[in-house]
Amino acid sequence: DQQVKQNSPSLSVQEGRISILNCDYTNSMFDYFLWYKKYPAEGPTFLISISSIKDKNEDGRFTVFLNKSAKHLSLHIVPSQPGDSAVYFCAASAGGVQGAQKLVFGQGTRLTINP
């Protein structure tokens, strides 16, 4: 039962263009969402998060959008840079920022930025 799904295993984008990574979830109790970035031979590192009371959160080149009615979130990277090439994981939890211990991860999307 995959509660968090990233349906695109890979994505290729030209440098300077926008990268859009998508994530869908099925559990309506999820109210806190995060994106992690993973380089080869390293552990995932936190990128950006959003609470369900918001529909958008922005941090520099990274913006996360949340559509609660569609149970969908997306990560936008503008402009894309070669250093953004990595695997991106979407994750969700219930109980807010101070809530549940359990994060449920998606399978990841491998983003490749082409020069």
Partner: protein, 112 residues
Amino acid sequence: DAMVIQNPRYQVTQFGKPVTLSCSQTLNHNVMYWYQQKSSQAPKLLFHYYDKDFNNEADTPDNFQSRRPNTSFCFLDIRSPGLGDAAMYLCATSRRTGGKRFFGPGTRLTVL
């Protein structure tokens, strides 16, 4: 730099031979987690410690055990590894409850 360290980075064991993976942290976080990640799959939570309180996920096999002797260290013991246990094992920490995890680089386990 405060960080999460995992040793070894690569571990090869034989079918049925017990193996222990190690995680240490300098972040002084209360919570330590162990995740299993198989190729092209989502990281799957095995269990976590909140201070000394152990919390096992319902679907974690009995073959997997954990120890946390102090705040800084946490171990993953696999009592009788099977071929299906070959995976990347990720240790993570967080300050208290909440979503932001700090991950170690992982240990890749190979079972022969």
